[in-house]
């Protein structure tokens, strides 16, 4: 097992664990304000200090992890659920009008500035976690479509697919029974990378106030709140920022390690 995979998995598990625990328990209640106790640096009572309302930052990080993970994971889900079938379909009809249409559609989505469109979508349909998921998810679709198509295309050349075709299986059944299981590794690795990009995108959206709304805790909004406080209470900005960095780092390391592990041929390492 590659070391990067191990480090990445530990980091990711740490945050997933924190998010899971926050469902039943957090060190402090983040909905009750404790103004006299505001902007306290890390201490025994508040391990990571308190924010401008005296709320416990560790508790908010735990709940924020939940928001980040939920948004990014569902956005990856949208991308996979729509992108992979499209890619497989395009590959099965290689060179047809449909293939051309799907691939050109992909190029088109890539041409749009993703952050601007995400901001547009959330601003139009209202700032909420659901709209953030959709806005991020849309841009995951072409990623998975393109990758699954190219993975499938190389498989369609192989002999075992030819055997399946000779035995009379339809393109749909071949895609489902033979192609999909063989590109699943590729999708999982890419899924991890998109997951980490989703975490960053969610943080960016909620930083400008277009992600999950209060009282739901979110790392991006914690950073936005910390913006004016950074000089007097640096921990309010450092803690959520480092949470994002470690979560993203963990996912990326896990993805890279997973790729090396699942496919030894790639162990030579490409960017």
């Amino acid at each position: 097992m590659p070391r990067s995979f191990l480090i990445g998995t530990v980091l990711t598990a740490l945050f997933v664990g924190m998010a899971a625990i926050s469902l039943i328990w957090t060190p402090h209640d983040i909905e009750s304000l404790d103004i006299p106790n505001k902007l306290k640096p890390p201490s025994g009572a508040n391990w990571l200090g308190t924010d401008q309302f005296g709320r416990d930052i560790l508790s908010m990080i735990m709940e924020g992890a939940r928001t980040s993970i939920a948004v990014a994971l569902l956005a990856v889900g949208i991308g996979m659920a729509l992108g992979v079938p499209l890619g497989l379909w395009a590959a099965a009809r290689k060179g047809s009008l449909l293939d051309e249409l799907i691939m050109r559609g992909n190029d088109l989505i890539f041409a749009f500035p993703s952050l601007v469109i995400a901001i547009l979508i959330t601003a139009i349909f209202g700032a909420s976690a659901v709209n953030a998921i959709i806005a991020i998810g849309i841009f995951n679709i072409p990623v998975f479509a393109r990758l699954s198509r190219s993975g499938a295309l190389s498989l369609w050349e192989r002999d075992f697919i030819l055997a399946a075709r000779v035995s009379g299986k339809s393109a749909f059944r071949i895609s489902w029974e033979h192609i999909l299981p063989n590109i699943l590794n590729l999708m999982i690795v890419q899924g991890t990378i998109q997951f980490s990009l989703g975490i960053l995108a969610e943080a960016a959206l909620s930083y400008i106030g277009l992600g999950a709304q209060p009282p739901t805790a979110s790392w991006g909004r914690m950073l936005a709140d910390a913006q004016t406080l950074v000089a007097i209470a640096p921990h309010t900005a450092l803690v959520p920022g480092l949470a994002i960095v470690f979560m993203v780092l963990g996912l990326n390391l896990m993805g890279d390690g997973l790729r090396d592990w699942l496919d030894p041929r790639l162990r030579v390492e490409r960017a």
Binding site: R104, D107, L108, A111, F112, P113, L115, V116, I117, I119, L120, A123, I124, S196, L200, A203, A204, Y207, I208, L223, A226, Q227, V230, A231, P234, A237, L238, P240, G241, I244, V245, F246, V248, L249, N252, L253, V268, E269, R270, A271
Partner: protein, 315 residues
């Protein structure tokens, strides 16, 4: 080559048309009547109707779409509702912040990424390589707006080397303006540099496996000489693609960084226009950005096909 170019040109035009339809349609489904927005809630119905006629809002959709596209083709991007100024003028103003910022950031990221990528490739698998790769992992994980806050804390608030935000304008002198753009450019450049360094390294490693490198080595060049004389130049192709894409991204991707530093650039213009529901501005500026991306991609594709005939036969 001509056939390939024509085919690509056709797909460029189709892409632009489809993109414009998508943008127009999205803006159309947005709830809220721009005329009502201008006049406020207490507007009399006949005033409202008059303004709607003046703005062309009572025209059928296809006609309004055609109007918008025809206007843009002639350089008329419509008139902002909130600022009452032509959008083209606003874009022309803002581009003098966003464009230099994008170029500045791109230069910084290239200056960091090239040596880092080459260094890592030359020391493949050794400590130096691992160090650079670890740093790039960190670089892609850092949200640029958070990095911007940290930069402000250190270099603007504590050390007072740079302003913490705002833009004095180019009239105030070149250095003053550059100083205001320095922290934003660094914040934008960091993640880009990390990505670019990784691409540079892997592209170089691909080259080092090639026959012509083996030939160069067989002729007696050292590993390092072969790398510098032959591999670097050939490895630049994928790197330049990424630089092209990054440039297009930086032009619009500064949206949040411009927000952090209060820079009057294109990104901030879009953001403010979205918040104020000044949709004609959003529509036209987004279309402009998409136009830039599509044209840059087209130019890059064409340039490659001109250099490498293998790419012309389709993909």
């Amino acid at each position: 080559m001509l056939r390939y170019a024509l085919k690509r040109l056709l797909s460029l035009v189709v892409s632009l048309i489809v993109a414009s339809i998508v943008i127009f349609a999205v803006i159309e489904v947005i709830p809220g009547d721009p005329a009502a927005l201008i006049l406020g809630v207490n507007a009399r119905p006949d005033t409202l109707a008059a303004l709607r006629t003046e703005m062309g809002l009572d025209q059928p959709l296809p006609l309004r779409y055609a109007d918008w596209v025809w206007g843009m083709l002639r350089g008329d991007f419509g008139t902002s509702i909130t600022y009452k100024t032509p959008v083209a003028e606003m874009v022309a103003d803002r581009i003098w912040v966003s464009l230099p910022l994008a170029i500045y950031a791109l230069c910084l990221s290239t200056l960091i990424a090239f040596p880092a990528g080459i260094y890592a490739a030359a020391r493949r698998g050794r400590a130096g390589d691992l160090g650079v790769m670890g740093a790039t992992q960190l670089g892609v994980a850092v949200p640029n707006f958070w990095f911007a806050m940290i930069l402000v804390l250190i270099f603007a608030i504590n050390l007072r080397w740079f302003p913490s935000g705002g833009f004095p304008g180019w009239d105030e002198g070149f250095w003053k303006a550059m100083k205001a753009l320095t922290l934003p450019a660094i914040a934008l450049a960091l993640p880009q540099a990390a990505i670019l360094a990784r691409v540079m390294r892997s592209s170089l490693l691909d080259m080092l496996d090639e026959d012509f490198i083996r030939t160069a080595r067989a002729k007696g060049l050292s590993r390092r000489q072969a790398l510098w004389r032959h591999a670097v130049r050939n490895a630049l192709i994928p790197v330049l693609t990424i630089i092209g894409l990054q440039f297009a991204f930086l032009l619009a991707g500064g949206i949040i960084i411009e927000q952090v530093f209060f820079l009057p650039g294109l990104g901030r213009l879009i953001f403010q226009a979205i918040s104020a529901r000044d949709l004609i501005v959003v529509e036209s500026v987004v279309m402009l950005l998409v136009f830039v991306v599509i044209v840059v991609n087209f130019a890059v594709d064409l340039a490659y096909a001109a250099v490498d005939p293998r790419l012309r036969t389709g993909r």
